[in-house]
Amino acid sequence: MNSSVAALIVSHDGARWLPAVIEGLGEQRTPVDAVVAVDTTSRDGSAELLREAFGSVVEAHGSTSFPAAVSLGLEQLGDCEWIWILHDDSRPEPGALEALMRAAEAHPDVDVLGPKLREWPSLRRLLELGVTISGTGRRETGLERGEYDQGQHDEIRTVLAVNTAGMLVRRTVLEELGGFDAKLPIFGNDIDFGWRAAAAGHRTIVVPEAVVFHAEAAHRGVRRTPITGRHTHYQERRAALYTLLANAPAKWLPFQVLRLGLGTLIRMIGFLLVRQVGQALDELAAIVSLYSSPRELIGARRTRAERRPAEPHDVRHLLAPRWLPYRHGLDFVSDLAAAATDQASDVAERRRAAKLARDGTPVRRTAHDDEDDLGADSGFVVRFLTNPVAVVVSLFLIVALVGARDAFGAVSGGALSPPPGEAADWWNLHLEAWHALGQGTPVPAPAYVLPLAVLASLLGGSPAAAMSALLVLAVPVSAWGAWRLLRVIGHLVDVTGFRPGLIAWGALSYSLVPVVSGAWGEGRFGVVAAAALLPWLAHAALGFADPEADRRWRAAWRTALFIALGAAFEPMVFWVGVVLALVVVGTGFLISPQGMRDRSVWGPPAAALASVPLLLAPWWLPAVLNGAGAGLLLDAGRLPMAEVGFQQLVLGRLGDAGAPWWLGLGLVVLAAVALIPRATRIPVLVCWVVALGTAVLAAMLGLVVLDFPTITTGAGLGFLVVLLQGLFLVAAVIGGHGILSALPPTARWRRPVVATGALLAAVVPAVGLGWFALGGHSDLGDEADTGIPAYMTQTAMTGPAHGILVIRGEVSDGLDYSILRDDGITVGEDEIVALSAEEESMTRDVRELAAGPSPDVARELADHGIEYVVLPAPADGTVASALDATAGLSQASAENRSTRAWQVEREVAPDAVDGPDSALRVLLLVVQVLAILVVAVLAAPTTGRERR
């Protein structure tokens, strides 16, 4: 051991750690030959500590960077072969230097050695074993976060770089490479140095036998220096980008510049999504600062090029693999998704914990004896097959898919119009301020067009697939949502939760509500969608009961998203939300005015409801402005609304395509019986209170009569039917739990009684499912016969001005006319057409046309953008003969002999249905997008901010 080693300690405000560092240095089994300490004007007495230990200290200015401090230290050093750099927060183990020196001896070609860095002060968590940098500038250690040192990495490896804390470097190499880059004052100078060393042909290894404990004070922001400033993330990011751009081979440079630019955008979005605005801004600032000073980079590259040998060594094998950044991205997204879905599930747990913290009553959670799990070591199939609940649920869902067979393919019928041809049609419908429907209308597209457009785009651009998915997946999705909801309610009601069988019964029964009600069969997809969303919405809203204010707020934004999505399909979701919020918050003020005064108690529900109008702004505001405000009370789909009265509300029926009415009696009777067990009476009463509120709303809305030019109809109460059924069901499940808990667990008659009750209760979902699976009740089908000759439809597709005027009815009973353009009325357009104001001149022309031959009518029809006139079978002979006698109309053929058709002989006016653009629409769309982004970001769970 004839080589000399000098230790170089750089300190700045490190008095917290310095004593341990000095102690560690003193304990080295291989003592250092010299020590030079550099202090950059610490204000905490670090310099005194160092002076005490080592005799002298090099005092430097407070803004001296780490590279400059190292240079200063080097100047003060006498002759020595190795420099051992230590930070003021890195404590070497007694054998550290010994191990490093031994490795240096064993590998004479090595010029830079690094120890294994572990967490301060003496923990087993690994921090670094050599580092490298990924293509996106991420510092890669190759370790899991918080990985424990169990000797798993204990072999000497060649690496790109090692941390400067504990780095042992040949003095000649350090000087030859010009030391650390002064442009990297704190962060990243180690990687940059390693890269330069590797490019110059020097080898860097990590020696795991040498252990140094590191506090990473600067990185974690524990220590702020004039150099780090407040924005450590900015500094780190800038250093990483600088390192990449300064060292990358010239041929990669343009690509790298572009990639880092785009990458920054994506990373910013990622940071914004998890509400780390500061970090996002740091990202931006880093790249802007670097890109706006190209001279700095050019200078850096020139220096490197000068110092490098003519043929630089390839360092690619030392850099992180190319796929690594994407793998990190995927991990991030999946973590986020998992966190987002589980946000509310443990609200019961947290309430209990909060209660425990308040009054210290221990609550023991016991598993149900009759639902014992097989050991986790059994195979999945065994566990599945031996779990009756899992088997029943799976069978149920399979049969439900069979029952939904009518909805496969391009489905339409009942209240459901055919889907448009492409997702782009829906996007256009959503984006356009003026629709070429009828005579052209500014009535906005219904709000559900946006989610459907998104869904269709995700499904390969097929609206047919989107509608099909909506209808087919309605049962599974509502079952899943109901399962989650009932599980949380179970834990809220009772610490042990509901039995899985009971939850399964409730979830499956609920999932059939949209089907047996007849909403599914009648194609009332709005009700179906709202029914599928309802349990998810309720689950999110349970978050209002969370003991933590921050979680309540997040629950608010989550609930807002669900209400907005639900209200997009069924505006009634919003109104119900308003009524319930008023009832609940009002009751809260009555019971505990003091507690409710806290803004984080009443604020979240208020915010959830108040943000819905923003989220749906492009729909309701133009609707109200254009006299189509009645759309705020309508179900989605074709008019008229289903008739809803007492029977429908109590039995959960909507229209004629529902299951037999007596099946609906089951739920309401069970909900009433649920009030009997005392233990669970209060939560059941809560359900009934909400049901009463719903009933009041229904009674009020039952008085509403909406008079449209086309039809007179009542308000769309479909969602209220579903909501009542859901409430009855939750009440029944809670009551069922109450009854089961009230039965003495040891009684001999318990089992038969429970079994009988379960069998009786199972009748509700079983009969409903059987009825659904038999099929034949729905109005849905693959093809809609419009009665319009196919060649006309094809002509109509050539442009919106090539309209088809369809006249139905008889002279004696009145005639109805409608205008078909493009591909006819598709999903999303029904409401627009129904809510549009009547075009008086069009009505007048049709009247003239039907009353008798009139010479000018043909010209006016062409001006209205009408190319064909069709009287679908059975055509009124009087009207037909009047049209036959009208000059300017020539008879056109039709497949069906009793359908009559004419072609307008004049050219249609190409701009017949054009309308104005609207700046308001653009503004509202921007507002919507921003609102969705902001609410989604606010609703997202918090990720662990940074390593702490």
Binding site: R351, L492, E643, G702, G814, T843, A850, A880, D884
Partner: protein, 461 residues
Amino acid sequence: MSPQPGRRSAPGGRGGLTSTGVLAVLLPAATVGTLLLVQPHEPVDARRPPEPTTLKSAAVACPSPPDGPGVAYVGTAQADARGKVTVTTGGKKSSVPVRPGQLTRVPGTGPVVVEGEGDLAPGLLGGRFGDRRLAAVDCALPAPETWFTGVGAGTSHNSVLELTNPDAGPAVADVTVLASTGEIVDSGLRGVTVPGDESVRLDLSEAVPRRTEMALRVSVSRGRLAASVLDEVPQLGSRRLTQDWLAPQPEPAERNILLGLPSGAGAQSLAVANPGEDEVRASVKILTADAAFAPEGLDELRVPPGSVQTLDLSRAVREAVQDGAIGIEVTSTGPVTAGSRAVVNDDLSLSAPVQGYGSPMSLTVPPGRASVLLADADGVGTATITSWNRAGRQLAEKRVELKPGTGGEVRLPAGAALVRVTPRRTSVHAALMVSGDGATVVPFHEQVTEALIPDVRPGLP
């Protein structure tokens, strides 16, 4: 959802009323009670009747003359309308003047289409007379559906259906033929296309040769068509050829009144067609000016679905005509169409059911002894019969008092060319009967003065 319920050990185990117990009864009751208040929106009556308006344009078509060239008479029943109407004959359009009460001659060989606009649209009328022996027809308005009952396609008599298209575009008619054995499916008369401004004559002996009586239903599926049927009894030995037009019936009815019973020696028969799905029983009564009675020895006629049956009325009518009978009434258990034919004194005369109307009705009068037959008024009122000669001078005006179920017969002065029946406070069935060289009967029909403007509104697609 927040309240944490008491567990089994929680208070509430004592008996008696608890607040939650009371609520457990009250809440469901209140909920159900409130739900009872929900009023479903009842769909309102969707019928929206049309509004009448003055007719602005009308067309009538006079059938071709029986053989060779002939003359059609065109006029207006409106008291103050004058001007020119458009006449299309043989593909040529011309304008002819029309004045109130006056008839204009339109000579030609083919059918004549008369179109009136504006004031001349309501009350537009025309007539065509046979030039061999007495035969007459009222120029018909185009109609979507027309029935002709008692047509033939055999040696005893043969009918020719003429379809005239008054418009420029093509028109299509579906002709259904009912015979004694039921509907003739392969008649080849479905989808008969009539080009614009042209007419088509269909000789039934070529299309559906049959010996029995038949009925035709002409249903216009495209365009407008005026239909007429000319029936002819061919010359046989000493019997001369005789022709007459059969008036159309708009739709089947359960009660049909056929007016005009020629007196003299000959055969009189009634054909009844049942277009329905079930067998129909029809009975016949004789109508006089003030009564209706069932003749003796006349059985009920059973008409199987889709078939045509005939009843010989010769004896019953011959006796009744002596007692002042003016027509017959056919009452049936289901809607039927009917037609009566008489070959009296070797002259054919045909009669079709007459509708009762309460508004003025006009006809052109062929030369001969003309009288207006009135029957079956539905209330107490009057009918005024006014006649004009060819020059437009009013000849006579006579008022007839009417009581429910009664009618009457009014002789027109010689030289009458135009006659109008104006019922007041009642509706009445009326027909014009002219005798002389044979006989002919033309039913009065309502003068169309109004068009119906349908209630039009935007509808659901």
